[in-house]
Symmetry: C2
Subunit: 338 residues, 2 copies
């Protein structure tokens, strides 16, 4: 069967199910088309062109990035209307100015009067309207949605963030300032509330991959998680009732420590196993209870780890192996750095 | 002064003090020359050619690697006598065989009869003497030295590991098998005991950079730590008594969580500050006690983070900025992947 195409991959390897990626992306598109709100997908989780294409429906317009390296990478490949969602950096102003010259629309964030002062001394063309700076909108990230468990609590955070943002927009309007509003986090954007229809746009990102953390929050189900780290059994350690696998923190990241009964990841199809610890290149797997049946895990056999936090796991890989139903369809190469 | 050459670097940035690197490397060379034991430095911490040159005194011979990608990278650049210190991988046997053909000496680890069986079916030239496989030596890593605090405890672990290894070598000799012995970890190799003089070689790696963890174990002093992550203050958050800095886990890693009073790193020159939490691209800094004096940390000002675990931090960077006394002298580019 096609799924055997993954088996010859050298491990550890990050694999991405492109069908799930497309489904996650389409659901988010549909959700905000229905609400009449612009979707500005965040690129920080995957940092690839291909996933950027899928999230923007091929338009390569209207994205958010977390680093200037991402902004340059996407600009170099024909993306435009890029929002650099980071406090205006003091050390990268010239690079911001250069991007602003190249792009039709490049937006930066200001969160302090000193940053405004800096910007007024070196105005970026695209926002240079009133005294060198044009306020495009208000940007908020409801990061507290990551502390939620369940849709009801997610929607309470979404409601609070939306209400506060809309009240602030109202105050701006009363002062004669009309601008856009953008909020977002994958949990809140996966379960929008009605009032979010009054916002200009939303900017979730992780939803394209999702992960165990998002399933525990209630943003998605485990079936929606598009990424795995493939790992092989490389040792039997009966004196410790453990398996050794070839995935350490160099391939999975250390995110999720102490968060799951199954350790640093969920081991697909093996709810009885736990990834209890890792070194740089090794993982130690043990049964959650009882004795390990080594005959079920011969040396060289594959296990699939569902990451706790896909942003952190993806960061550890310079190539993602992309498959459709187990058939390898390509490789995606993320950008890195700042 | 020369130290201002670091200030214009875009942050976050990993910087390496090449003078400390050279001093750490030379001390380890001297230590094992005195003991009459071969030093086989591990490349896994830095994964660069330049640091490999410094650790081997320019010979490019006799190194250890943790991934086959490292083995290929070093082989491509004229390194030889490479030990791939990893259980013989079932998925990379052909790549191992190819390396074995190219190099004068390429050594692999076997830790299971099944791996021996695998190897006898596809013998690698360099170890193909007796029935396809030649036992070169015995390799041990005293990872338990990482649980030590202080030289006395490190040396107790070094003694235990050495004694067990030498007893095992004695049993092999009694069975007519003469081969080498290699042990190592940065803590034990930083404080060798007399009996280590009876070993064939040692294989530490982290010592070239060291880190906060090693200083707490007692392997080194804080003055021996060669790496920093430069970060800038990007926000003042008086409502939380915090600074925002532009170093998140994407630049520092999540290693060291909960290990230090100062949080995820030591902030050089600011023993009163704590890096209490990080997101992908942001760090939150607060005083260990009392109120933050924001006038000491203007927006844009630089802080230097001493990593808890330099192997994990280095892994997050695709370039290291190298300096001598604050004067930039080059960039090192590590290899990645498997």
């Amino acid at each position: 069967p096609a799924s055997t195409e993954l088996a010859p991959l050298c491990t550890p390897a990050m694999v991405v199910d492109v069908d799930i990626v497309k489904r996650n992306a389409q659901r988010m598109v549909d959700r905000y088309q229905d609400l009449g709100v612009k979707l500005r997908p965040h690129m920080k989780t995957h940092k690839t062109l291909e996933c950027g294409d899928i999230m923007t429906g091929g338009s390569r317009r209207c994205v958010v990035v977390s680093t200037l390296a991402e902004a340059s990478f996407y600009a170099d490949h024909g993306f435009d209307d890029i929002l650099y969602a980071y406090p205006l950096p003091f050390d990268k102003l010239e690079r911001c100015a250069a991007l602003s010259e190249r792009l039709s629309l490049f937006q930066v964030l200001l969160d302090h009067p000193q940053a405004l002062e800096l910007l007024s001394k070196r105005p970026l063309r695209a926002i240079a309207k009133t005294e060198g700076v044009e306020l495009t909108g208000v940007y908020a990230h409801c990061g507290n949605s990551y502390h939620c468990k369940g849709v009801e609590k997610i929607q309470a955070v979404a409601q609070e963030t939306t209400t506060l943002t809309l009240q602030f927009m109202e105050k701006l309007r009363a002062a004669g300032i009309n601008c856009k509003s953008s909020i977002g986090s994958t949990p809140s954007c996966s379960h929008p509330i009605k009032d979010m229809g009054q916002l200009s746009e939303v900017h979730p990102g992780n939803y394209v991959f999702y992960d165990v953390q998002q399933s525990l929050i209630g943003s998605c189900s485990m079936e929606d998680v598009a990424v795995r780290v493939l790992t092989r059994v490389i040792g039997h350690c009966p004196h410790r009732n453990q398996l050794l696998v070839d995935c350490g923190w160099a391939a999975l990241s250390q995110d999720g420590a102490g968060r799951l009964p199954s350790g640093y990841a969920v081991i697909e199809g093996h709810p009885d196993l736990k990834l209890l610890s890792m070194t740089q290149e090794h993982g130690r797997v043990e049964p959650i209870t009882g004795e390990l049946d080594y005959s079920k895990y011969p040396l060289g056999s594959l296990l699939k780890l569902v990451p706790y936090h896909s942003c952190a796991t993806a960061m550890m890989h310079s190539v993602y192996h992309v498959h459709s139903g187990g058939r390898l369809v390509g490789k995606w190469f993320p950008t890195r750095g700042w």
